[in-house]
């Protein structure tokens, strides 16, 4: 079996999420490949646009919802621009899933705090739906920080949970940076849960039971330090703070060397040892965050 060979997947649907991000719903052409494809939230695949190249993308659908995969892809450069031009029915290649993913079994029974910044919402959406669908977790908090109303990924779902989340044991808090009528409207309706500011502002006044809580973070590199400080201030153990990290990746399977970080005492491959790490890993491996 050649690990660099991708499987054909058909684009079932392309949906605009924001001006920059599209949601691609895919299904493997070979039903056997589809049936054998299982993953856990936090894992990623390598998308192969044949003749143009490959790039890593997190799975943003939940493994509880079978028969399809979803990828939320931001137009960031050459290849992602190319895939943004693709249509329903087109074929792309998918290989994976890769990486360790979040330890969903270990966290069963605990409360989850999902902290998403921008595109970081993509992998955390997989956790969110997994937790809601399985019902095996305590309370699920989603703290989500975005630039503007237009940038809220999965806006319908987020607003739905903002309104009706309690029935699903889930609460949502939203921070935005750029003011707009829609945001002000949201803020009026949910003054305790929507505010202008950055994602760390959502922690104000929040306390949680640190012995029964895990935090899962995903966002731009600058966000980690600030969010982690909020969590440590509340005495959450570094071993209960999970974060998913990004690096340039070529192979996804520990060969190409691009994602290596660390020093003489600890080296990690983000593609295989991660992309999910604990804050303890970051303390013991320099350069991780």
């Amino acid at each position: 079996m050649n690990p660099y060979m991708s499987h054909d997947a058909r684009i079932l649907e392309v949906k605009d999420l924001t001006p920059r991000e599209k949601l691609f719903t895919l299904r493997f052409v070979d039903p056997e490949v589809g049936a054998n494809f299982s993953f856990r939230p936090g894992q990623f695949v390598i998308v192969d646009v044949r003749g143009f190249g490959e790039f890593p993308i997190s799975l943003c659908s939940s493994p509880t919802r079978k028969g399809y995969l979803q990828l939320c892809i931001r137009k960031a450069g050459r290849m992602t621009k190319f895939i943004h031009g693709m249509k329903e029915g087109d074929i792309i290649g998918i290989r994976g899933p890769y990486g360790n993913g979040f330890p969903m079994e270990r966290m069963e029974g605990s409360n989850l705090i999902l902290v998403a910044g921008g595109l970081g919402m993509a992998p955390l959406r997989s956790v969110l739906w997994y937790a809601i669908d399985t019902g095996k977790y305590g309370h699920v908090h989603l703290f989500y920080g975005t630039k503007a109303y237009e940038d809220i990924l999965f806006r319908d779902e987020v607003i739905h949970l903002l309104k009706h989340g309690e029935a699903m044991n889930c609460s949502v808090k939203l921070a935005y940076e750029v003011e707009s009528p829609s945001c002000i409207y949201l803020e009026r309706g949910f003054s305790d849960r929507v505010c202008r500011g950055v994602v760390t502002d959502l922690f104000r006044g929040e306390e949680f039971n640190v012995n029964n809580t895990y935090a899962l973070i995903c966002g731009p590199p600058v966000m980690y330090r600030f969010v982690i400080r909020e969590l440590l201030d509340r005495r959450l153990s570094p071993g209960r703070i999970y974060m998913t990290l990004e690096r340039r990746m070529r192979c996804g399977v520990g060969k190409c060397g691009h994602c290596i970080v660390g020093t003489s005492v600890s080296i990690k491959y983000i593609c295989q040892d991660g992309p999910v790490f604990t804050y303890w890993d970051a303390l013991s491996t320099r350069g991780l965050i």
């Binding site: 660099y4 960031a76 690096r247 340039r248 060397g257 290596i260 003489s264 005492v265 080296i267």
Partner: protein, 334 residues
């Protein structure tokens, strides 16, 4: 291990017998440097070479190679490999290949590497260190496995260590070329190894090295050298254990494309660049330090990512010396 003796007068015949196995590549002098080239006659080889510029990794992961070929919208695997004999590998290079094995033969197995590894016969040869070698301090100056045959120089021939079934079969098929090893041969072998062990001029004391380096993360020594370094990436290209590769697709005509991989270097600015222009190692200092940390990482099952071959020193245009940097960084702690 099995030991046999190849008398000097049979060397030519032995060499020719290897050509039945596959194309033979050995160390050849080109201008001032040595390189592994195809050889038809043993006289073309420089068996007393110090080191080749590119290590033997070029036979297993090429500087640039096609891995997939696009036909009618589908990838086809590139599978052609030729039986090859690598003649005259030094022990450090054999250790270098073992480190690459640990990467490429680990699950998921890289099929290109595996096929070439299987199709390649490795014949090692004993050597004398020059001013750049420090393999002895890393324990890579003697190979116990990772070869099919290993030739040790004797005054009147070669003491051959047989390292694999394949090596045994070759020696067996040409049994008339070999003799049993005598006590005198063994004494000569020991004498050579002793002389060799005493010839090392460069040493890398490893005691607590990894921890020291980690503690010295902010040492000004990194900065000093990062300023001298040209960022050319030569040290990566010539290193037998450096293996970063970049991948890109290239159209060959309107209907077909190939996916190629080629050597990459962590000294290149875009090595740590991700979407949106964020760079995880933006400065020369970050990149310089990263290479030293990567090479000095100690894997309990595979050892260091450096085998002490001295290539990075010999081929560094800025004359930066690997051991010198490590020792200075360690010294900066005290």
């Amino acid at each position: 291990m099995r030991y046999i003796k190849l008398p000097s007068e049979n060397f030519g015949k032995f060499f020719n017998s290897l050509r039945e196995w596959g194309r033979v590549y050995g160390p050849v002098k080109k201008g001032k440097v040595y390189s592994f080239q195809e050889v038809g006659d043993p006289a073309e080889m420089a068996l007393d070479y110090n080191r080749t510029m590119l290590p033997p990794k070029k036979f297993f992961v090429g500087p640039r190679e096609t891995i997939l070929r696009l036909k009618n919208g589908h990838w086809e695997e590139e599978t052609n490999v030729e039986p090859t004999v690598l003649f005259g590998l030094h022990s450090c290079d054999i250790h270098g290949l073992k480190i690459l094995d640990g990467v490429y033969l680990n699950e998921p197995v890289d099929p290109y590497y595996l096929r070439r590894r299987e199709a390649t016969l490795i014949v090692g040869i004993s050597c004398m260190p020059d001013e750049y070698c420090f393999c002895k301090s890393l324990g890579t100056h003697f190979a116990m496995d990772g070869f099919d045959l290993f030739l040790h120089e004797l005054p009147d021939g070669w003491l051959v260590r047989i390292g694999s079934v394949r090596g045994h079969e070759i020696a067996w098929r040409h049994g008339e070329l070999f003799e049993e090893v005598t006590d005198e041969d063994l004494a000569n072998f020991r004498e050579f190894e002793e002389r060799r062990a005493n010839s090392f001029r460069r040493e890398l004391p490893q005691g607590g090295l990894a921890d020291m380096l980690d503690l010295a993360y902010n040492s000004p020594v990194w900065k000093k050298y990062a300023e001298i370094c040209l960022g050319c990436g030569n040290c990566n290209m010539v290193c037998p254990t450096c293996r970063c590769y970049e991948v890109c697709d290239r159209w060959t005509d309107a209907y077909g494309a190939v996916r190629e991989r080629r050597y990459d270097s962590c000294f290149m600015e875009n090595h740590g660049l991700v979407a949106g222009g964020h760079n995880f190692r933006p400065t020369r200092l970050d990149r310089f330090r990263h290479r030293y940390y990567c090479k000095s990482y100690f894997d309990p099952s595979a050892g260091y990512n450096c085998v002490g071959c001295g290539r990075c020193d010999e081929f560094c245009p800025a004359k930066i010396e690997h051991v010198g940097v490590l020792e200075e960084v360690r010294g900066s702690l005290q």
